[in-house]
Amino acid sequence: MKKRYKNVFDKSRRDLFKIIGSAGISQGLLRASPLVMGTMISRLADAQQTRPNKSVIIYIPDGCIPQQFFPNSNLTAWKPMSQPYQTVASECNFLKNMGHHRAGHGVIPTIINNSWGGDSFDVNMGRILSQNHPFAYVNLGVHSNGKGCLTKDNGHEVPFEDNPFNAFDRLFGNASGGGGTRSPRLNIIDAHLDAVNALKLKLGSHERQRLESHLSAIEDMQKRLNGGSSTCNVGSPPDKFALGFEKFREQAHLQSDIIALALRCNLTASCSIAFGNEAAEFSFPYLNYKDVYHQSIHGGNNGDSSYPHFRETRAHLSGLSAYLINKLKNVGVLDSTIVCEVTDMGNGDAHSSNDIPLIMAGGGGAIHRKVSNAGGSSYTPLNQIHTAAVVLNAHQHSAYQKYATEVIPGVLR
């Protein structure tokens, strides 16, 4: 079985070359045109599109208050913290009674990873699904850095790209091979390869491992420059603004727009985004509640069991997540994308490991949507992402990290 699925992916790569060949496009033209590579990948994707082939992970810190969050089974009655999802209800599956493999603060490195090393799910899906894409994975954040990493690449922490302007430049900027001639950047890269290899000879094993990651990065860059452009015609760069908490919403929307465009342009097949950080040390000065998010969960409600502050802040984060799901829909990629919204605990005030608010969305007809009836306390975010991997047919690829062995019953159609 594994071999068959591996062959599917090998076939995918061969198909790309076949399409490029039949279109009569030379390697030189591929390098010269900023649009050709993306167009070819899009054509391939269209030709192959029978099931979801893209993954998006959304991380929202610190759970919820379950009584204030979970909607009814057919998503017609909402609670204050989940109300914003109403706009995308037809695309969502709210998992029920879910457990957590490791609830609490400080767990962000293992929410979408079954190890402290290896690959996080976004990277792993990138390895499997983005083989023909310029970027293996894209991991963005909104005031997410400094409090732990969600993303790991072969055991190496990958910081969030919190700056949407940098993200835009990287994905849609001018890092092309350029005009059919050898990119000057390749000369620089050659020099760096030489230096890292020389340095490796001088060092002990731990430092050599770090340099291996550096080498891989250089080689990835080299491959992209040699293989074609990473650009896509998406119009003008966004107007810049200061990235303070007062612009949290704008920043989140912009990062979501970038993810939607990156997927639409087939620049990558795997994205992740974090809204805030696991220590919950961020705020939304434009809401009624202006203190830090963490305080809105603990103590800031002065004992009011309806959690008026957390209700407002969590609903705001729900709205940001719904915005991204809606954006994916609007640009036409939601049906080919499986979205997993994850978090690190159930009841955020109690740091509990039950009733974890986990959502799956998109996937066309691959999962049941507009429902909240699947789940169970023995299932965790790892089962959630494994279920997504099954939807994506990635679970039998040889590179799959096997985050869990069981899918969540009742999710798949």
Binding site: G104, P109, P159, I188, A191, K290, G299
Partner: protein, 691 residues
Amino acid sequence: MKAFYLFAWLGVYLFSIGESFGVAFADQDLRTSKTLSQVNHIDGHMRPDLGQFFQNSSSYHDFSILENMPLADGNGSYTGGEIFSKVCASCHGFDASGGVLNIPLNTKRDLAAMIEIIEQRMPFGNPQNCDATCAERVGNYIADTFWAEELPEDCSMVKYGARQLKILTKSEYQNSVRDLIGINYNVSESLSADNRVGYFTNNTFTSIVVATYEAYLNVAEEVAAWSADRNFSPLLNCQNFDQNCANRFINTAAPKIFRRTLNSREREIYTNMANGTLTNGDVKAGLQLALAGMLSSPQFLYRHEIGELNRSNGEIDFNAYELTSYEMATWLSFSLTGSTPDATALQKAANNELRNPNNIRAEARRLLNSPRARSTMGNFVGNWLGTDQLENTPKDSEKWPEFQQLIPHLKQEIRENFAEVMLNRNENFGSIYNASWTYLNAPLAEHYGISGISGNEFRRVNVNDRGGILANGAFMSRWGESIETSPIRRSVRVRRRMLCENQPNPPGNIAEGREEQIKKHAEVLRDPRTTNRMKYAIITDTQPCVNCHQEWINPLGFGMEDFNTVGKIRFADLRGNTIDASGILYAPENLSDRDVSISFYGTRELGALFANLPSAQSCVSKNLFRYMMGVGHDSIDNTNPLGPELSSRERDGYACTVQQMTDTMVHQSPFELLVNLGTLETVRYRKNWVR
């Protein structure tokens, strides 16, 4: 090897209508191979039946944490702290002081033996659920958290640091291109985020992945283009962009960028770029290409602390390395001024002067005279205590409308206070916590109600009600709530950051008991005569909160109630009640010593206490060690249970180094500590430690 006894006591609580009862038994004494029956009588009274116990215990012990995660195959992600709190604490106590069965684990013993016993026998009745990895994590957690730190018996050994590469932080990158190229805007904001370990940005264990590499390339190209637009001045001064200019770039500019002379291969590669060979003979374009290449190169991005073998140095082992003069120049410049070595430092390195301790001290003194040293010390304290992120603690704008404008001034005050103690050779350690002066400018003085200060420039001002890094506006507001103070936030930060005590995180399901308390005491909490102090005492007076709040947290935090949440001294709270700032510092030296306590009244008295408290003294050294070395004295990153760890000999050496640093700082001065940092064996001598 010291004798070690671990009695596997397990307890059970059956909770019903607020009632609990416990039953207990003892496992066999593993050292003497006592039988269960014998041990059942060990305290002079009969323990309950084992089978009976397990029937009851399964409902209480959360073995599921171990069952859900396959620890047995080494892939489990639970930390030792998590396993301890969920599985072990119920019997041995949340603070390992013995718990319901009075079997303490909070005193030092043979760690290897304890880990072995945990692996073989724990959790009792389900030892298969905790394999060697699990046992090691739990054992190390117990030792790190609850055992008093002890120095190795012999600190006369040579204390080697690690051969390592540190990636420039964003700040170091920015400062370097400012000093080398003259860049006058924030170019580093386009770089990937720095890693944070402990309280500090720290790229010692960070790896370059494709996104970060691409960011380096983009920024380097941007800087090179900016520099080319200015004909590469001040890095290079050429009348014409010809071969002579290219040679000058390689001979004079390139060594500044690489912080050492180039080897022949590097000369060949970068000459080939600079002389226009790769740019159709266009030398200026070639220089731009070479500059972009160098500013994103491993030679520039990594701070090298590799050293070289020096068999002529009789002090060190045959397999030990000594930092070269260039590496020492780099270490001193970045550690003390946050930037690349200047021409003087590079000249000293070229003369190979920086292997000699006297010369190292002289160079350190030169650098410490720089205004940048002041900024470096400010960065240290701002990160250590979190005050550089004061914006992350917003205040209610209606109650405290002035606060937002004061943030930069509050941040600067504590930076100046700490830098003054560290860099003024006449100051002593006590001033870190108990200074009778502070730094003020007009806006801050007005906020504090101190008259006679004008202008925005900060100056040293004698005061008697504040001073030091504890009794100041930034720390007090950073760890306060938006309207009122937070005794809890302050207390936890003081204990963790200023005493270096590893106070455990709150357990799960803490809200339930607290909600009950709030309901039960709703009337009292609403009463305007109820103070903030009383409020926190009430809502934490319930299980499991009380375990930590009763001694570790509340009495310490309550003693700082004389500062309001925007850093002003107060005598009445927001409801008009008189402030009670009486406090007690429990466990002043070790978290486990809850029977030791010191009373104080108010933040100033607490600061005065810290000035002479060994744990507060060594804690400064421990944090400075991590800041300068890029690695902790006892761990690399204790939040990552599968991350690299220090080897035992390395750790012993670091413990001795921290003691040496503390002695210098307390018995000589903080300034002398900084002067002597570069002469520490841990800095000068390196090994390939196994990790």
